[in-house]
């Protein structure tokens, strides 16, 4: 590992962080435009971030509460580290971070790291709505995980590897090689389950603004919130990058990455703009109905 690699990685992280903020702003903007409003300025998330970092008083409910955002941000950054971003034909290329070809299982399970830390931190906050949000989040996460796992397995069977890099490599050479077309069931399962993973409406009952305040983050303020916003923006991009790598042929340049992640992200945004919020049991049942069946089909297709 050279200094240059570290530099590239940190640069990549910076790009992702900013891109995440920008995507967040665009999300709000699209919402506003749908409602016929002008909406926020595109730089609003950065302002919010600096404002939050700049609060003067901070409270802490205890050590775990304090560490919650740290876990969350580490989860986001770690996910970035373990994910190959831009395909350059070299498994240790510049934009592959510390992924070493990227192990799908590591990525899958490391997502839980931030979630767990956040859950614990919010738990120590002692607010009932935090706990409710987390309980919902975990239940929904499990339901999302099942079709996702099936689809991931299906893709892994298809290419006989768990290496994200290799999966991307196999999809090079034209869009007809994308998993989207070579493994439609798995792709469909992922595209649907992705809605849950992104956490926008109708699957936004984790935060459920105005119903349970803001869910797990109810007690978090100022600097913590800034950290969590950063983590959220990174995680959003990373989710999109993951799906891009698995289904949409990866990216060979930052431009391609930005276009693809934008489209992936906005698939969930558009759905969210149209549908109202599900109840938790409705959400779980839905994931067990449609994406799960697709996931099982994806497995069955490849097991015979």
């Amino acid at each position: 590992m050279t200094i240059a690699k570290l530099g590239y990685t940190l640069l990549g992280l910076f790009i992702v962080w900013n891109w995440g903020f920008l995507m967040g702003a665009t999300f709000r903007k699209i919402g506003a435009r749908l409602a016929g409003r002008y909406g926020i300025p595109f730089y609003q998330p950065w302002i919010n971030f600096f404002k939050n970092i700049g609060v003067r008083t901070t409270i802490t409910h205890g050590v775990m509460y304090y560490l919650g955002p740290v876990f969350r941000l580490t989860g986001g950054i770690g996910l970035f580290f373990f994910m190959p971003m831009v395909f350059t034909g070299d498994p240790n290329g510049h934009w592959t971070n510390f992924s070493f070809e990227g192990d799908l299982i590591l990525i899958l399970y490391f997502q839980l790291f931030g979630m767990l830390g956040m859950a614990l931190g919010a738990g120590e906050g002692g607010h009932p709505y935090s706990a409710m949000g987390i309980a919902r989040g975990l239940a929904q996460h499990a339901a999302v995980e099942l079709p996702l796992t099936l689809a991931f397995l299906s893709i892994a069977i298809q290419y006989d590897t768990f290496s994200v890099y290799k999966i991307v490599e196999a999809q090079q050479g034209g869009f007809q090689n994308w998993v989207l077309f070579t493994n439609p069931f798995a792709s469909a399962a992922i595209i649907l389950a992705m809605l849950g993973a992104m956490g926008h409406s109708p699957f936004n009952l984790v935060k459920a603004p105005n119903e349970i305040l803001i869910g797990p983050a109810t007690e978090y303020e100022g600097t913590y919130l800034g950290f969590m916003q950063s983590a959220g923006s990174i995680l959003h991009v990373m989710e999109a990058v993951l799906f891009m790598n698995l289904v949409f042929g990866g990216a060979t340049s930052w431009a391609e990455l930005i276009v693809k992640t934008f489209l992936i992200y906005f698939w969930s945004v558009f759905v969210g703009m149209v549908f109202p919020r599900f109840k938790i049991e409705q959400s779980i049942t839905w994931f067990f109905k449609v994406p799960l069946v697709l996931g099982v089909l994806a497995i069955i297709v490849f097991s015979f």
Partner: protein, 1040 residues
Amino acid sequence: MISPIHILTIGLGGAFALGFVPKKAKDAAAVIMLAAIALMGVLTGSWLIGLINGDSAQQVFTAGFKPPFSINLLMGLNEGALTTAVNFIGLLGGIYLYKYLKEAGNHAIMVFLIFIMGLNVVIMTRDIFNLFVFLEIVSIATAGLVILTETGKAVQAGFKYMLATGVISGVLLIGIIFAYYYSGTLNIDGLTQAHIGALRGGSVALLMIMVSILLELKTFPANGWGLDVYEGANAGIGAMLSAATATGMYYVLYKLLVMAGPEWNYWIALIGAVSFIGSNVLALKQRSAQRLLGYSSIGQIGLLMIILGFKDILGDNTPYVAFGILFSHYFAKAGLFWLAGIVKQSDIANWAVIRKKPYFLFLMGTFIFALIGFPPFPSFFAKWELVMELVNTGNLPWVVAILFGSMMEAVYLFRWFGYAIKGENENIEDFKIEWNKILPVGIVAIALYVTGYFTAQHTEAGAAINWIPLFFVAAIFILDFLPVFVKNTIAIIGMALYFYNIYPDLDNMRLVFEAIFMIGGILTLIAGYAYKGKRTGFYPVALLMYAGLTAIIEAQTTLQFFFGWELMTAGSYFLIIRGKRSMPHGLSYMLFSVGGAYALLIGLGMAFAGQDSLGMEIINTISYLPYWAYGLLIVGFLTKTAALGLHIWLPGAHGEAESDVSPMVSAILLKAGVFGIVLTLIGMGGESNSYPWLPYALGWLGAITAFSGNLMAVFQEDAKRLLAYSSIGQLGYIVLGMAMMTHLGWLGGFSYVVNHFLYKAVLFLTIGAVVLRVKTHNMYEMGGLIKRMPLAFIAVMIGIIALSGVPPLSGFAGKWLFYNAILEKGWYLQGAIMFFSGGIAFMYLWRLIHTVFLGQLKDNHRNVKEISIWFLIPIYLLLAGIMVYSVKPQWVLQPLGDMIAQWFPDGQLTWDGGTAFTKYGHWAGTAVAVTIIVAFLVVLALLLISTRKAHKVKQFDITYSGERPERPETTHVAYNVFEGLYKAMWIATIPLVETWWNKVTDFLHDTADIVRRIYNGNGQTYIIHIVLFIIVTYFVIIGG
């Protein structure tokens, strides 16, 4: 040698002499009786010793005539042993009844003496008319004893007994006279030579003789009169009936069966089986202790009849098997009857009073475990030999019948024992102890252990058993009066030394399990220092479990393995039932264990079949019904790993156990089942497995177990039950991994074995210690404890991260290996179910840590202290293990991989420094851990810089819509947290398995309740039963 005829002399002489003793000199009379019985015992004992040393048997003819004109006795080895036994129990019974008989007067004493003498002759006689006479003497003596000493119900029972034995002996008499008519002799040997059964008309004579003896043995179902006497008579008399009379009658049956010829063997076995199963099933509904013992006696005699029926098959082993069962029954039943007389409680629920004198509980446990056939009692070895031989000769249905009957017996005996250990005993009057009553009970208990030891020495495999751990347990038992601190230290040192001594002898696979058992044992024992006082009975049973566990590991033969298995079961049963509300769970644990052990027994029998060896290696080459054999072995082991369907004992058992017992029975004990499964799967051929469907089914079972265990855990409100269900789920993973039968699958499985041990021990120890502080299991009654017990919180946090498989901690190793294994094996759907279970696991883990440690601190916990240091020490040692495993996974996985490669050489991990490669991907444990830790520290530093000072606030300083929370209880989200999930998935939480087992038990109990109503208490009905029994046997045996 003194001629055995002098038994008659002594008996009759003593009885006559008693006539001269003045009525008031009651002590003198009783002493004379005891002396006479002792003299008879010395006489027969000296014969026994002589015969064992090679003297020849002696026939005795009275008055110098040849048969049939004389009393004709034979003193052979069997007779010597049995008469000695009868005189021994007679002497003990006499001592037990000393005061009672003294009260009743010289007549009763006389009758008792005659009773013993009659039995002696019944055993020795070779003449059927003689037999009739002495049978009548015994019956009359019994009835006489009852009428001389008893009133009320016992007299009614005595009258029924008289009536029934009168009719039976009438039938016997007709049979005798017919036999004589057709064969011209009354001598048993003569009748044998004449082949009485083959003579015209002789078969009917034989049938009458045999049937009347069977009836005298109180064969089911024509035995209501016998049951009434067992229940109604004084316990001392019941003991004599059960131990002495039954022994004598059994030997009579043996003698006559030789006479009847081999074609009767089958019928005797069949009637025995009906009797064994029938009476044991009917006993299920029994609440009266003595009647229950009566049912059990009849059942045991039925078992002995089966053995007799198979005497040609068992061959030279018949006496070994028969005596093994007979002596266990004889000592144990006498002991239990005597205990019943001491405790004086009819309802078994009231036997809880026995706990007020713990050593009596120990005696009762001894007898009950001896009856069921646990080691180290003779019945264990006898049953083993019986099953081995029967399976070897292809008599599987009989084995199933025997084990089913034994299972039923276990149900009611352990229910009774459960009441004794855990029942409510506040309002029951304590019982009094009299020296003459304790002495015999103590002697028979010791005799059981001694005979058990010598029975074991009798066979080659049994002699190889390592008794050192058991002696250590016995030593700890004797030292039970010492305080906890001393006993704990002794136990830890003992286990450490033992481990140090044996670990060089073990191969790697056994070493892994032995390390889990022993090191885990020592660590959990350290937690025992937290307890004050004596902790009566804890150390012997805990060490008994560990002795069993190490015996399983060390086993060179299947007998040793099974021996260890049963010891472990017994020890863990006692451990589990120590919990506060564990009575029903202890019972269900025991029943599933016994059932599983029987499945193992048959499986091991099938392994023995055709191989004629008991070495452990025979399970590698099973040739007799191999599918069934491996299947049964796996089912047997699955009862210990609590696979779905066999799991219902676990949540309660682990959940209600004491704080430091839960990790013992969860993190450690469950691995015994895994060890068994590993052995079986290796036996099936490892990579070249030729029974593909078994692992396939096992794999699905593992996956579904993982799913349902985890799902149930999500909906628990009880922290320890949550962990218990979690154990079910985790064991499901292990089973699935092993069932894959690939290198990676096994590596994943073993990784989980080690991991589950580490984190489940941490979690159970911590939660157990928390429970000790807050005195409740309910998570919603806790909360916010992180403020009071930060160290416990850290332990649980690391434990749950390791369990959930989140990188960088060790749990991820298992997940990663599993994914690769699943892909390699092609079990995608099973794998998907398993990973979904992982997601579910995340929910209950969060619930566990949140509802206990986070959220709102409850008022009454404001001052609780950090968990005990004695719990923290083992917890943090285990955490160190988790951390080492996490950062340097190659230290654990590489040796495991090398070990597994001997069975699964294909598809190994390749290691490059700290990075593992499969053909699908790679995993650099150390690098990942370092990356994450560095990132974490950087982010933490950033946060520390940007929040210059954070004001520490308290629990109610939360936004609450402008209000303040009223109480922590109403602010803590903990009860029914996953309501939404329940609404979506309730259908998967219907306890089908539990319902099914409940239906099964209900069905058996209801059947028993209906059928036992044939014993309506009317003496005439009993006679009708007898007549019907004769008619039915006639049509079945002769007419059929």
